[in-house]
Structures are given as structure tokens and as C-alpha cells.
């Protein structure tokens, strides 16, 4: 395991020669050993086309490549950090929530409309994710930032999970999500319960929820 939580707001990454690590630019707090940080103009992996794709999608957060041998500490803005270990499945997360991830993971951009067409696009707008979201696929660890603590809710085929769109952080696994509305006449007359829109996740996997309705 390369990434390790040392407290709720800091992660420690072990860097060994030959293994790259990507992190949000400026998120390094301290390091030991011989480590180099190179700004990644492309904003992640892939070729030129991936870079253009990310720029167009607005999912281009400034990243840097961390190489060498030693230990690096990451943290950003006092946000809570959660390390998620992936073993072959895909993690869906907003690019600005990414603190650091291993180079073994494959980074990509997903169009929200590809999951559920127009409703998928509407969902992206409601959750504040925009029209695109970042995917990370493969084996490795990811450090994700959230406001307040993060807790994991498992999703099984029998038990779909509903999440407040503002408290949603990330999800992984074979999960279908759709926006469910519980709009009634009460909401129309301004007497709503404040839970009109919910993100319904069903399938097999897990969703990460933060203890707050605030964005980063």
C-alpha cells in the first residue's frame, strides 16, 4: 500500500523508483528522501488527446508527477482525506476532490450523458459534478478529499442507497445511478422537506458520503 492515512487530514505516500504518483499541484506538505515534483501540463495520464478531452470537459485540475524515492506527506485546505483502495474496479470522482493517486491507475473522463442520456446530464448539474466526471480504473490507492468525515455505504442489488447530491463524494464498483425526485406539491409552495432530489445508486459496490452538505 503506497498511500496511508496518518491522521484524518493527512496522507503519507511512499515513493519508490520506477513507480509514479500523481497529486494535486501544491498539495505536498513535507517530504523525506530524494523526491522530485514535476508539474504535469497534461493534467494526468494519457496522450495529447486525453489532455484536450480534459480541458474541454473542465476536468483538468493541475496535477504534478511525484517521482524518486522517499516519503511524501499530502494534505490540502484542512479537508478530511479518505484513502480508497481499488482492486480492478472503477472509481467515479470529481477531479477537484482528488488529492493523490497511484500511477498504476488508469485515468479517464466520463460524459455524464453516457449514463442515462439527458437525465444523466441533469443529474450532473444537480450534483454539481458538471457534464463530465473523472474515472480511475485498475489496481492501486486513491486519496480523496471531503468536507467533514467520510463514511462508506455498501450497495447491494437488494438494497439500493439514496444519497443527498450535495453530500455525495465518490462511488466505485458496478453501480448504476439515477436522479430520483420526490417533488410534491409541498415543494412547489415552498414547504419542502429539503430532500427533493436524491441520487439513487443501485448495483454492486460502495458509495462514499461526507458528513456535510458543503462543497469543497
Amino acid at each position: 500500500m503506497t498511500l496511508r492515512e496518518i491522521n484524518s487530514k493527512m496522507v503519507e505516500a511512499t515513493v519508490v523508483p520506477g513507480q509514479r504518483l500523481f497529486s494535486q499541484r501544491g498539495a505536498m506538505l513535507a517530504y523525506k528522501g530524494e523526491v522530485s515534483f514535476t508539474p504535469n501540463i497534461q493534467g494526468g495520464q494519457g496522450g495529447l488527446m486525453s489532455m484536450i478531452g480534459r480541458r474541454v470537459a473542465g476536468e483538468a485540475t493541475p496535477l504534478m508527477t511525484v517521482e524518486g524515492s522517499g516519503t511524501v506527506f499530502f494534505g490540502h485546505g484542512g479537508h478530511h482525506v479518505q484513502v480508497i483502495n481499488l482492486s480492478g474496479d472503477t472509481l467515479y470522482v470529481e477531479a477537484d476532490r482528488l488529492l493523490a493517486f497511484e500511477g498504476t491507475l488508469q485515468q479517464g473522463t466520463m460524459f455524464m450523458g453516457s449514463q442515462g442520456g439527458v437525465m444523466g446530464m441533469v443529474r450532473g448539474q444537480v450534483t454539481g459534478q458538471g457534464l463530465f466526471t473523472t474515472t480511475l480504473k485498475g489496481h492501486g490507492a486513491v486519496a480523496v478529499m471531503a468536507h467533514g468525515g467520510v463514511f462508506e455505504v455498501p450497495i447491494t442489488p437488494q438494497r439500493p442507497v439514496h444519497v443527498d447530491p450535495q453530500a455525495y463524494v465518490a462511488h466505485h464498483g458496478d453501480v448504476r445511478n439515477k436522479l430520483s425526485t420526490a417533488l410534491g406539491w409541498r415543494d412547489m409552495v415552498g414547504r419542502g422537506s429539503g430532500e427533493a432530489f436524491q441520487l439513487e445508486l443501485s448495483g454492486n459496490g460502495a458509495v462514499y458520503v461526507q458528513a456535510s452538505e458543503e462543497k469543497l
Binding site: G148, H162, V163, A167, R186, R191, G194, S212
Partner: protein
């Protein structure tokens, strides 16, 4: 109180309307008490089996199973409660959550404290109340000068009955015991809630130094006497008292 699927003899229902004791026993008999538990210190998980809880509007972060959310106008205290809350400014937007499964609540990453009530009264600011068991009654009371010093107005919310309540605090709250021999003095800005048979009075340490602008910043305090518990947060709200 919620009717379960079980058969209930009529005499038991009628007896349940009266005292708190019978009412609690009846509820236990029907097994419809929601289970409150903390997941970490900032998330409240409530396991429900067809019963209801009252929670702050919009504080749900996730749920599984079947849940229905309904806003309760006037804090679910009927027409009288609604009018009282309007007049006193102690407004509370509450929703009723009813269903089967687990529901998670959180509010702006504030710390959550669980309080178990057995017939006594809990006094809490409406903004600090996250969720209460469906069987608990809420209301408003006059607090006098103390309320004004906290910067929260002259009225406060009361929670009464048998069951659990979750209160919010800025940072982990400490529970301090008040005994007849040991009165407790609290900074108005750090006070969160109190329960039990407690009398409170307002005390001021205003001297000629305060008037000269050389005060220690602790000009006003609340004094608690009697027998009960006081919840204090490690942070101070902005109050008039904090400036002098």
C-alpha cells in the same frame, strides 16, 4: 406514537394516552423505537422499522431502504406550536422521516451528541437540535435574559418524553454535572444544552474596568444550580457578552 402491524388491545391504547410510563411500555411492546447510533462523531445513523423520527430540514445525507420525507410546519406541534414559534422567533424547520431501513444525518460537519431522555426535559437551541425520536414532544419556553446573552433570542426549545435526541455542537461537547453543592457557571457563547432539574440565573461580572473598556471578555455568565447535566462546546458563539 405509531401503530405497528401487531394487534393492540384497546385498553392498552387508551392507557397509552395518559402517563409517560405506560406510553413508554406500550412503545417498547410494539418495538417501534428508532435506534440512534453515531457513526464517527459527525454522522448520525438511525435504524428504523416503520416508525418516524423528526430531523432538521435537509440534514439527510444518505439512506437505504424505503424512506418518506415530509416537512412539519411549525415543528410538528400543531397550530398552537406554530403560532408560538412564529411569535417567539424560535423557528425550527423540521421534517418527519418515516420508513424502513437506515437513514444517515449530518449537518455541516458539526459534532453530534446523543442524549437519552427518560421523562426529563432537555433545553436546547433550535439551531442545535439535529434529530429527535418520533415519540418525543418539542415545545418552546421563555429563557429571559440568559437567552439574550447567548445571542439566540429570549426563547429556547424544549424536548420532553422518553427516547433519544441528537444535538449539534461546534467541536466535541463536554457534559458537565450540576449537583446541589456544586453549581456550574458557563460562558453564554459556549452553552449548548442542558437537562434535568436545573435552575438557571444570569450573573454579570461587570465592574468599573469593563466600563472603561478594560474588561476580561467574561462579563456575563450563566449560573446553573440544582441537579442535572449541562452540555458545553469548545467554541464560543458571537455574543454581546464576548465583546466586553
Amino acid at each position: 406514537m405509531n401503530a405497528g402491524t401487531k394487534f393492540r388491545p384497546l385498553w392498552q391504547i387508551v392507557r397509552g394516552w395518559r402517563g409517560g410510563g405506560v406510553r413508554t411500555r406500550l412503545r417498547r411492546y410494539l418495538h417501534t423505537v428508532a435506534m440512534f447510533r453515531l457513526q464517527g462523531s459527525k454522522v448520525l445513523a438511525v435504524d428504523m422499522t416503520g416508525d418516524a423520527v423528526k430531523a432538521k430540514n435537509g440534514s439527510m445525507v444518505a439512506y437505504d431502504g424505503q424512506m418518506a420525507f415530509k416537512k412539519l410546519t411549525g415543528g410538528g406541534e400543531g397550530l398552537r406550536g406554530m403560532v408560538t414559534r412564529r411569535l417567539t422567533g424560535e423557528q425550527m424547520t423540521v421534517m418527519e422521516v418515516r420508513g424502513q431501513g437506515t437513514c444517515w444525518f449530518a449537518d455541516r460537519a458539526s459534532e453530534i451528541n446523543l442524549v437519552r431522555l427518560q421523562g426529563e426535559k432537555l433545553f436546547v437551541e433550535s439551531s442545535n437540535l439535529l434529530a429527535t425520536d418520533g415519540g418525543l414532544r418539542t415545545g418552546t419556553t421563555f429563557t429571559g435574559l440568559r437567552g439574550a446573552s447567548q445571542g439566540n433570542g429570549l426563547f429556547t426549545t424544549t424536548v420532553e418524553g422518553h427516547g433519544q435526541a441528537a444535538i449539534l455542537s461546534d467541536g466535541p461537547a463536554v457534559v458537565l454535572r450540576v449537583a446541589p453543592q456544586y453549581p456550574l457557571i458557563v460562558d453564554p457563547g459556549a452553552y449548548v444544552a442542558h437537562q434535568g432539574n436545573v435552575r438557571q440565573s444570569f450573573q454579570s461580572g461587570v465592574t468599573f474596568r469593563t466600563l472603561l473598556g478594560e474588561g476580561g471578555g467574561e462579563a456575563f455568565q450563566i449560573r446553573f444550580e440544582g441537579d442535572g447535566l449541562v452540555y458545553v462546546q469548545p467554541s464560543e458563539r458571537n455574543t454581546i457578552a464576548g465583546d466586553v
